[in-house]
Symmetry: C2
Subunit: 243 residues, 2 copies
DNA sequence: CCGCTCATCTGGTATAGACCAGTATCAAGG
DNA sequence: CCTTGATACTGGTCTATACCAGATGAGCGG
């Protein structure tokens, strides 16, 4: 009776034993950050099983944040998570660089629109009020890791729509408008990314993500901006200090 | 040519069309919180497809936090997320009750042990220092939603191991030790739950979760407790205010 | 050199079964 | 009445296979 290669002491499911072997290889550094894993068909053959089971093992590692997939290109080892503090004014780029990463920001869209019922509930604005929407996509080492929708108050920030949003928004508010963001309401929850966010990040609908919403006001309590961020779940670690 | 029931205008994959129909039923309230969905075999038959595809659709809804599974019992509609602020001293029970939920806390284990290298790195203690470990499981409406490992400083909290941990730890520290937790370092990241946390919550390894770590110190900067929480991903929404 | 075509490789979706291991239910037996 | 045990039902795991569509890279033609 030929025993499966991944068969070992335990009676655990085959796909978890395959997972364990792959995880070991990653930990031993045989495959490292952003290195491509063997194809699903090769893995299935190597572990003497089928693609379905190999994919279960890969999905497990993906859920743990150890590997990620690139559409129809293959599976890759996840780099370390970016440490991120959403309570502080900060520059995404500076933060990424200080952690040895290569950041990039892409402005997808700048549009004048009006406050929806949903946004009104989040910000306290009135439905129909004017608002500027900025959509951006951000990369770490050329992997897209988040998309965000920023809603800016054009009354508080006249002319805002004509600026360059590929630079730090926080520096823009500070230098051009002398805005001091002192009040923030932050909301975070894990969820699956669905369209349109999923396609903007070139991942399948259902990929695990983290949604971070942030409502910022100035010292007088006036609404400045609402920021809705959609991160890939394996790319960040939130850190907050309370002193 | 018999067309599939879930076949519609779009050319999107079948499992996403099945997802859409189930999501609609949930939104219309035809199935509501904690109600069991039809079995996978029934769904497969109803949508004229196979269990594999039905399971893809269910996994999608699970990833979005709309439904959850109970081992070999079936799929159920997820109740609303618990709103949770990890920066504030608070009682899990009070918080749950105020949101109309029924909380329950179970102490799994209380044990005197020593600081591991990992814990030393997180707390600044020395490896080998004494520490009290408390493991708890918490429920909302009789569904287990989180397990936590609490590491308490026995030097700062003499006799702590003999208290009842089914009540609020925060109230215990306040009333019995007059501790004021003024410094906190909080870390949060989405990940998959693996053993032993997965089994403690009666979910499969790989179920999406959120890990929340919190290191608390008193006014003098002395280490009081380190708390490691493992939540099911669909059960909470983090909310933090910065004033 | 550049740009195009096309074969090949990749993961994505889907079918059609199979057996296993817990759960729930209820009738039979104490 | 309660307990027990058979049983049907549930999701969990797994095999084997097929076709599709996007990504890639080699090679050809300009």
């Amino acid at each position: 009776m030929p025993e499966n290669i991944a068969t070992s002491e335990t009676g655990s499911p085959l796909y978890l034993r395959v997972r364990d072997q792959l995880a070991e290889q990653i930990e031993r550094g045989e495959v490292t950050a952003n290195i491509k894993l063997p194809s699903e068909r090769v893995l299935a053959e190597r572990f003497e099983t089928t693609r379905v089971t190999a994919r279960l093992a890969l999905a497990q590692l993906e859920a743990e944040g150890r590997i990620y997939r690139s559409n129809r290109r293959g599976w890759f080892v996840s780099p370390p998570r970016l440490i991120y503090n959403p309570t502080e004014d900060y520059s995404f780029s500076d933060n990424a660089v200080s952690q040895g990463r290569l950041p990039r920001t892409e402005t997808l869209e700048v549009r004048c629109t009006v406050v929806s019922a949903w946004l009104a509930g989040k910000t306290g604005l009135e439905t129909g009020d004017p608002v500027v929407l900025v959509r951006r996509r951000r990369y770490l080492d050329e992997r897209p890791v988040l998309v965000e929708n920023i809603y800016l108050n054009p009354r508080r920030l006249p002319g805002i729509k004509d600026f360059d949003f590929n630079r730090s928004l926080w520096k823009l508010l500070r230098d051009q408008y002398s805005v001091d963001l002192v009040q923030k309401k932050i909301e975070m929850f894990p969820t699956a990314l669905v369209d349109p966010q999923a396609s903007a990040l070139s991942v399948n609908a259902g990929t695990a993500g983290l949604c971070v919403n942030r409502c910022s006001r100035d010292a007088a309590g006036g609404f400045v901006e609402f920021d809705e961020e959609f991160w890939l779940h394996d790319t960040l670690s939130i850190q907050v200090n309370v002193a």
